[in-house]
Symmetry: C2
Subunit: 294 residues, 2 copies
């Protein structure tokens, strides 16, 4: 299939590389420089077996493929939505963290919409190099009954390192991922510690547990034990990894704190839930984003 992947960050590079094994990929980047380096040198995937994928790449807003995978960060979506609204009907897959974009999906009613959750670990090392730090799956569901399972099965390349799995209902998958991001990302970024410290440092673990309970209350999650086990297992499996938010802070880049904790705090306030730990972390990460070093 001809697929346009929009966004040349870690996730966009990873998806473009692996899907290119079966599909005809065009990666849309923000800068011409990145488009050139991807087009001429390919995408280098670092991992146990480093390899290079060759894909098309361009920086202009063409989007003429029938299938688009939207891999920009949540905070870059608002400007993209204007473009997407103008396009003829397509299949569009969103793979953002958070839930902000889901509330705006009805604006794109002419398209067949899908919601994906990326469970891989990936860090961008250069404009055309991505480090595949954790093997996971991409779980994709049709949004609002508008999409079909067959399409998701066709996307799948059967590469065991990059499986795409159909999910009936996006909501529990998205919320689970959101809860895990909400607990692991801000704390690791604030303390500048790899993921494992969320469970191994008793004081950070105490804060993680408090944060987790606030998140569960806002998301109205009943089976807390199950979700905590899931988050703990991620922290342990990726214990030496630095989270994407920590990486963003270390590289003085904008983080995804608004779409991860900002939205949850907003929801919490509407419900009258306790959001004190979330608010502390929200301001703390914003404070780090805005820091001047000396």
């Amino acid at each position: 299939m001809k697929i346009g992947v929009i966004g040349g960050g870690a996730v966009g590079l990873l998806i473009s590389a692996y899907l290119s094994r079966k599909h005809d990929i065009t990666l849309y980047t923000k800068t011409e420089e990145q488009a050139i380096s991807v087009r001429t040198e390919g995408i280098h995937v670092i991992g146990p077996n480093p390899w290079t994928a060759y894909v098309k790449s361009r920086a202009d807003v063409l989007y003429k493929e029938e299938i688009l995978i939207i891999a920009v960060k949540q905070y870059s979506l608002p400007s993209l939505f204007g473009n997407l609204k103008q396009l003829p009907p397509k299949k569009i897959v969103f793979v953002q963290n958070g839930i902000t974009h889901i509330g705006r999906m009805k604006e794109l009613a002419q398209h067949e919409l899908y919601i994906g959750v990326v469970e891989h670990g990936a860090l961008k090392k250069s404009p055309n190099t991505v480090h595949h730090t954790g093997i996971g799956k991409i779980r994709i569901s049709p949004y609002d009954g508008g999409g079909a399972r067959e399409f998701i099965d066709q996307l799948n390349t059967s590469d065991p390192l990059f499986l795409i799995q159909y999910e009936e209902d996006w909501e529990p998958v998205v919320l689970k991922k959101l809860a895990a991001n909400a607990v692991i990302n801000p704390l690791t970024a604030l303390f500048r510690m790899p993921n494992g410290h969320i469970v191994s440092n008793p004081y950070v673990a105490k804060l993680a547990k408090k944060l987790f309970h606030e998140v569960c209350d806002v998301l109205e999650i009943n089976d807390k034990d199950d979700l905590w086990e899931y988050i703990e297992s991620i922290a342990i499996k990726t214990k030496n990894n630095r989270s994407s938010m920590l990486s963003d802070i270390e590289h003085h880049k904008k983080t995804e704190i608004d779409s991860i904790l900002g939205d949850l705090i907003q929801k919490g306030k509407e419900k009258g839930a306790h959001t004190c730990t979330m608010e502390f972390l929200y301001n703390a990460i914003k404070g780090l984003e805005n820091r001047e070093e000396r």
Copy 2:
């Protein structure tokens, strides 16, 4: 006067050096190594005009001077109290941060007790070198009516860089210092930022303000505006300084978080006050104290 200064940290070195201009000082250190370096090389005071003070120094627990100034950290006091209880009546001045020790003073009823608050900025650079980073005063009050103003006036060396000032009532002075420490120290240590960021970074400032209100509620402070102005003025005057707690975290040393926020949280719980921000910071600093680097 013959004065024993107990504790060879930044404050103990600073007090020993300045008081030696008028008094006969013996500095009691924890290690023989430090006692030797102070005795043989003197105390180097770094500042606008670096100078060296020559004082006696010893590591054994003799304490035979009539006047003792207790300059150990709050967390080192419990073991020292046993010794102080055995001594014949003396004048004893405590210059600790926090309020924990004040609750235990009745155990030392045979002595004439004084409570001091050190407003200087000081960082220990080596066993016999202290950097005098901020000129302040030491305010001293008799505890429980047991001491006399004349003694405090006699202590004073009249050095404008190191004035000692009599205060009628220790409580407002101690609480003011505690509030300033509670707001500035944990936040600067957590964010690893110099003091000025408490006011210059809008998100950190938001957290500082929230923390400040919790502290005021616990300490039942009525004139919040006045106290906030005081804290703000310290943060601005010392904007490029790293707080003692930040310095402790950077040097992998135990901090004073227990006597600064630990006590306030305890008091807050007894009163049913909100202590969420304080609790976050307490656990955060404990988490940093217990961190393993990688």
